[in-house]
């Protein structure tokens, strides 16, 4: 009996393999072969009209390139720019719905090694869907990846223009910070358990470009730390990313009372910096977040220049130092300021 059931199952299992093979979504259009950032060969149509993004950073990049009209699918986590939420969702980054992706008939699916699962990429590949995987490991890599994404979508000139302007801003920043001593910081990826970032990530590089030096020096990408170790290092600043989140505000307000955290000089002396959560995403907007962090850490370098220009009030230079005391008096003192910072960089 069992054998009979198994035989039936066998027949079922082998039938798809014998039947006419996976009907490719469309007749063979002109294609070209590319090598993606993890070294896979990918065959994409010469003209890419339909794109599915499997990561928030990629969605942002496509929007920044002004190619969002080709974006037919995004993930649930793609929350920037706000218009991204109007796109069809294919599910969550770690486990998107393959059927939803296939139904959207994408010319190419863009994934990123750091957040997507290899299994997802392999499964799509088997279904005959072209998947281009990005893997930026430095800020320079983010720029290069942006340019390559533009190229995959058949608009290299847009990539070149965007990257040139971003590079100019970074160069400007580099000159401004040239004679500044880097500030020793702890970048808090997550607070419970305490997770920071290691040498191999774009975040580490972003900190460096903002005139910061992480007190965590490890090969591991996302090391778990003990507060003891942090207390031993006594960083000059704590850096958090995520400007609009209520939870983060509450957390920062509570640091002064948290055991372990309250023994950090940076907490006691109110040297806690919050920057845009764009710092967490390897997308063009990271340059904005780097500038924001640089302003918060090296206010003097910017204050001089701005006083020289006489355009801005002194106090507005990247305000990002929050005291628990201020919070208790008025719960949201930094919301308008933070958005001010963002707007300024956007314009």
């Amino acid at each position: 009996m069992l054998a009979a059931a198994a035989a039936l199952a066998l027949a079922l299992a082998s039938s798809p393999a014998g039947a006419p093979q996976s009907p490719s979504a469309k007749p063979a259009a002109a294609t070209r072969e590319l090598t993606d950032e993890v070294g896979r060969a990918v065959r994409v149509p010469l003209e890419v009209r339909r794109v599915v993004s499997l990561a928030p950073s990629i969605t942002e990049t496509v929007f920044a390139l002004g190619l969002d009209d080709r974006l037919v699918g995004v993930t649930d986590f793609c929350d920037w720019p706000p218009e991204a939420k109007n796109k069809q969702s294919v599910g969550e980054v770690r486990n998107p719905s393959l059927e939803q992706v296939v139904t959207l008939r994408p010319d190419v699916v863009l994934a990123t090694k750091a957040v997507n699962r290899r299994e997802t990429v392999e499964a799509l590949e088997r279904l005959g869907v072209a998947v281009y995987v990005t893997d930026p490991l430095t800020v320079e890599g983010v720029l290069a990846s942006t340019a390559r994404t533009a190229e995959v979508l058949g608009a290299p000139e847009r990539g070149a223009a965007l990257v040139a302007s971003l590079r100019a801003r970074l160069e400007n920043l580099r000159r401004r910070l040239a004679d500044r001593q880097p500030k020793r910081v702890l970048f808090v990826v997550w607070h419970e358990p305490l997770i920071s970032t290691g040498r191999g990530t774009f975040l580490w590089d972003a900190l460096r470009l903002a005139g910061a030096e992480s007190v965590v020096d490890t090969e591991q990408d996302w090391p778990r730390l003990s507060l003891e170790e942090v207390a031993r290092q006594q960083p000059d600043y704590l850096v958090f990313a995520g400007d609009h989140q209520m939870n983060l505000r509450r957390l920062i307000r509570s640091l002064g009372e948290r055991p372990g955290w309250r023994s950090l000089d940076a907490v006691r002396e109110d040297r806690v910096v919050v920057v845009s959560d764009a710092l967490n995403r390897p997308a063009p907007r990271i340059v904005e977040a780097i500038e924001q962090l640089a302003r918060a850490l090296h206010a003097e370098a910017f204050a001089e220049a701005e006083r020289g220009k006489g355009k801005r009030k002194k106090g507005s230079s990247g305000v990002a130092r929050y005291s628990p005391f201020r919070f208790s008096l008025f719960p949201f003192p930094f919301a308008p300021q933070a958005s001010l910072v963002v707007q300024r960089h956007c314009s």
């Binding site: 069992l2 059931a5 198994a6 486990n95 059927e99 499964a123 279904l127």
Partner: protein, 338 residues
């Protein structure tokens, strides 16, 4: 209970097979992308007999390249786990016995993680390492569970639980310390997940399942006698030691098979044999095939739910089986105590 005749076994299996077929149809129809029943039927007919009106290409892809392999994987995992669970329950005369309780699943999982870390590019290494992990674990637990040269059920279960907890700790250690690239996605897999296509062909996996389950089935009459007590079975002429060895090995192979393709899908090995006992009685000659089909039905159905309740995002099927299985298990427990 009525006496077990070949006819009764056949009728029971036929009824369950029809239920399984219904579950398969439901699982093929449900998903993030809506597929009409007409499309499904015409697609199936066309696939089986070759037909005139072909489906849209993307629907074909969804039905036969995405959903069908997953449904087949669910059948494989469900049948393997339920038969393994029923076997362990008979060997130990303990209703709590289950691949998970005995640590066999954790051993298989550790094997998978090690193989992914050491041979990330050899597909066959994964199920082989899972077999090895499961077999080594059950061997260790088997010897740890002996007292005075005899297998002692309580000691065995305790040894299994402690071994499982030790192995889980080792798995956590490896997942934290190994470079993140090599074990990426493991956390999801550990919760039980059918979305990943197995590295070995399904046909081969089904062949192993059929051979192993058939081996266990040949001992069904002996298992019945052993359930009344090992001494009694010995007196009735059962080669208890040999039956135990064969069934232990076969059941750990089934566990390794299931874990290597789906991770930790819990409660199937525990709940399905119990449910089938309530339906068809405790005779292993009918219980084993019923458990195999019942396990397949349970996992196929659970996975259909996992794919649809929060679509387009998918839940791990292990979360679904645990959510349905744990309360059912508590119900069984309460009923037993009354």
């Amino acid at each position: 209970m009525k006496p077990v005749t070949p006819l009764r076994v056949l009728l029971t299996c036929a009824a369950l097979a029809v239920t399984l077929l219904a579950a398969v149809l439901v699982a093929l129809k449900l998903g993030a992308v809506p597929v009409s029943f007409a499309h499904l039927m015409s697609g199936l007919i066309e696939r089986t007999f070759g037909g005139a009106n072909p489906l849209p290409a993307d629907l074909q892809l969804i039905l036969f390249e995405i959903r069908l392999p997953r449904v087949l994987l669910g059948i494989l995992v469900g049948a393997a786990l339920a038969v393994a669970g029923a076997s362990f329950q008979a060997l130990l005369r303990n209703p709590l016995a289950d691949p998970y309780v005995l640590g066999v699943s954790s051993g298989a999982a550790l094997g998978v993680i090690l193989s992914l870390a050491v041979f990330p590019n050899i597909g066959v290494a994964t199920p082989l390492a899972a077999f090895a992990g499961a077999a080594l674990t059950i061997t260790a637990v088997y010897f740890l569970g002996r007292r005075h040269g005899q297998l002692d059920s309580t000691t065995l279960v305790l040894a299994g639980i402690i071994t499982a907890s030790l192995l889980s700790a080792v798995i956590m250690f490896l997942m934290t310390t190994l470079p993140s690239g090599s074990v990426r996605g493991m956390a999801f897999w550990l919760m039980g997940d059918l979305s990943v296509e197995p590295p070995v062909s399904l046909a081969l996996l089904f062949a192993v399942l059929a051979a192993t389950a058939a081996t266990i089935y040949f001992t069904a009459a002996d298992l019945n006698l052993m359930l009344t007590g090992e001494q009694e079975a010995l007196h009735l002429g059962v080669n208890v030691a040999r039956v135990k060895l064969v069934v232990y090995i076969a059941a750990s192979l089934l566990t390794g098979l299931a874990v290597s393709v789906s991770g930790a899908v819990g409660y199937v090995g525990l709940v399905v044999p119990h449910a089938m006992r309530m339906l068809v009685g405790g005779d292993y000659r009918v219980l084993l095939p019923a458990a195999a089909l019942g396990g397949a039905i349970a996992v196929v159905f659970a996975d259909a739910l996992a794919r649809t309740v929060v679509a387009p995002t998918e839940l791990p099927v292990g979360a679904m089986t645990a959510m349905a299985g744990a309360p059912f298990f508590l119900y069984l427990l309460r009923r037993r105590m009354r």
